[in-house]
Structures are given as C-alpha cells and as structure tokens.
C-alpha cells in the first residue's frame, strides 16, 4: 500500500501493479440491492420507475452507431458534418447524444484510431450502449496507451508498420467514435447492409468493419 500522504506528490516506484479483480464487488452489489429494496419498502420509489430508468439506459446499442457510419460511407457531405460535429450529425438521423460532444475520428489507409478511457470507462453510452467487458478492464485501460499495437494484435488486428496508430484517451468531457474504413467490395451494398458490417469493436478501433475481433486480451483481465 502507498502511504496516503505521499500518494499524490510523486509516483512511487514500488506501487503495486494494477490487478483486475472482483474484490469488493459483492459488497456493493449487496448494498445496492439492499438500498433499492429499502427505498421501495418505504415508498420513496417504485419498481416500475427503476425498470424505466434501466430500460432507458439499455436502449442505446451499437447498431445505432453503425447506421451513422453507413450513412457517412454513402454520403460525403454527411461525413464532413459528422467529423465537424458528431452530436449535430447524429441528431440528423434522430439520435440524441447526451454526452457533451462526440468526436468522430476517421480511419484511413495511413491512420488507425483506437479509443480508451484510462481513468475510468468513458464511452458514448447514449449512442452505443454499454461498452464491451474488455474496454472497462484495467488491463486494456493500462495497456492501450502503453503498447497499443500489441493490444490490437491480441485482439486480432495487426496495424501495418507504415500506418500511424493514434490512441485517444477519453479522459474528460469528450466521447469518441471511430469511423472505420469501408471494406472493399461493398459498392453494391445499401445502407442497411453496410451498417450490418459495422461492429461495436470497429467503432472503438479494436477491429475493422466487416471483420470480427477475437475479444481476448492477455494479462490479468478477468472480465466484469
């Protein structure tokens, strides 16, 4: 353990490595359930209200983001607006993004973008829903900034040495969406068929559109 007083003054060389674990999770699960039951029992809250909030939280899904990507592939003017102002462009398609701003970053033949939140698990949840388990793992959060090419390799994606890899740490008020490259041989596809190629992982930069990632990371990741 680091001594409380010294913690913020310098970065101790002997600090314990980050270890993924469930220690404490059961306690908070139990406390959450107990608090919820007490609030209902005392008449402060109804189960239906909780269900409505949960349903609202669970409504957004990666397919919404995929529709935005497919439209950007088909409509160059929309893509320009999307890259300039993600929230406004998403609103054109009827998606209301609650986060402050959506920064859309475009993959090209020379540039690959990868999103991570090192400090917690910031993610455009009001558009894409909940992030994948590995995104919130401490292993991914620590390694994605430190050795991103190796992390992507373990996720099944090898970035060519002549391509720039740009990691975006989603550490504050912005949220991020990767605009993947449109796969070759998709000229004949319509918007719905194109959207079906866009996975959640592709919009994080952990996969290419039209290809599944392995979703397995080395290290201590045990999921959560």
């Amino acid at each position: 353990m680091t001594m409380r007083g010294s913690r913020f003054v310098s970065h101790p060389a002997d600090e314990q490595p980050v270890i993924e674990g469930h220690e404490g999770a059961e306690y908070y699960d139990l406390m959450t359930a107990a608090t919820r039951e007490l609030l209902i029992e005392r008449g402060f809250l109804e189960q239906a209200e909780i269900d409505a909030v949960v349903a609202k939280l669970e409504a957004p899904r990666a397919e919404w983001g995929a529709l935005i990507v497919a439209r950007a592939w088909l409509d160059i003017a929309f893509k320009t607006r999307l890259l300039a102002d993600g929230v406004a462009a998403a609103a054109e398609l009827g998606f209301s993004i609650k986060e402050a701003q959506l920064v859309v970053v475009e993959n090209t033949a020379n540039l690959h973008n990868l999103i991570v939140c090192t400090l917690c698990s910031c993610y455009p949840r009001s558009l894409l829903g909940q992030p994948p388990w590995w995104y919130i793992s401490k292993t991914y959060r620590a390694r994605a900034v430190r050795e991103p090419r190796q992390v992507l390799k373990e996720l099944g994606l090898e970035i060519p040495p002549d391509v720039e890899l740009r990691v975006h740490d989603s550490n504050a008020d912005m949220r991020y969406l990767v605009l993947p490259m449109r796969p070759d041989g998709t000229d004949e596809l319509d918007e719905a068929a194109l959207a079906a190629l866009v996975t959640r992982d592709a919009m994080i930069g952990a996969a290419l559109a039209g290809r599944e990632s392995r979703q397995a990371l080395g290290g201590d990741a045990s999921g959560s």
Partner: protein, 97 residues
C-alpha cells in the same frame, strides 16, 4: 478567448493536486501540440465534490508522440496519442513563442 490555438506547442504540468483529477500520470511533464479547442466546461476537480465547477475551464485536445511518452515505446515512431487537458494544466512549451 482560448489561450491556445491548434498547433501551439504546450507543456502538460503536474499540479500535484489530490482528488478527482482528469490528467493521468503518464502525460504529466510531457510536451505536445494543441489538436483542437473543445470548449469550456465545469471544472471536474470541483464538480466531484458536489460544487458547481465554476468558473468553467477551457478544454483542449493535446496530441503527443508515443515515443515522447514512453522511452521504450515498442510501436512506430509516427504513433501518437490524443488526450483532453484543461487549461490550468497547460503552459506554453519551452522554446515556443
């Protein structure tokens, strides 16, 4: 009027503050370039303690080279990292006007 413009070279300070800090260790004391100005936001260091976060603070995205962040970086020299930094954590980089 934001203090920095895109392309300006900046130094990320280490303010040594405790609490809900959004500037991770690995970018402190590092130099980068302003990628964009993101607008002005309530200060999260204040919001975390149920205060109003006022006055709001300017937020920028700063682009750094991975080889500047990690001396033993195993990727390519052209690899970069973009991160959001609030104005009070920034100063003009040494040697920049």
């Amino acid at each position: 009027m934001p203090r920095f413009s895109p392309g300006d070279r900046v130094h990320i300070e280490d303010l040594g503050k405790p609490g809900h800090i959004r500037i991770p260790w690995y970018v402190r004391h590092k130099d980068g370039a302003i990628e964009r100005y993101c607008g002005s936001y309530p200060n999260p260091e204040d919001l975390a303690y149920a205060r109003r976060g006022q006055p709001s603070v300017d937020l920028y995205r700063v682009r750094l080279r991975q080889i500047d962040l990690w001396p033993d970086y195993a990727g390519q020299a052209q690899d970069t990292l973009d991160i959001e930094v609030y104005d009070h954590w920034l100063s003009p980089a040494e040697g920049s006007s």
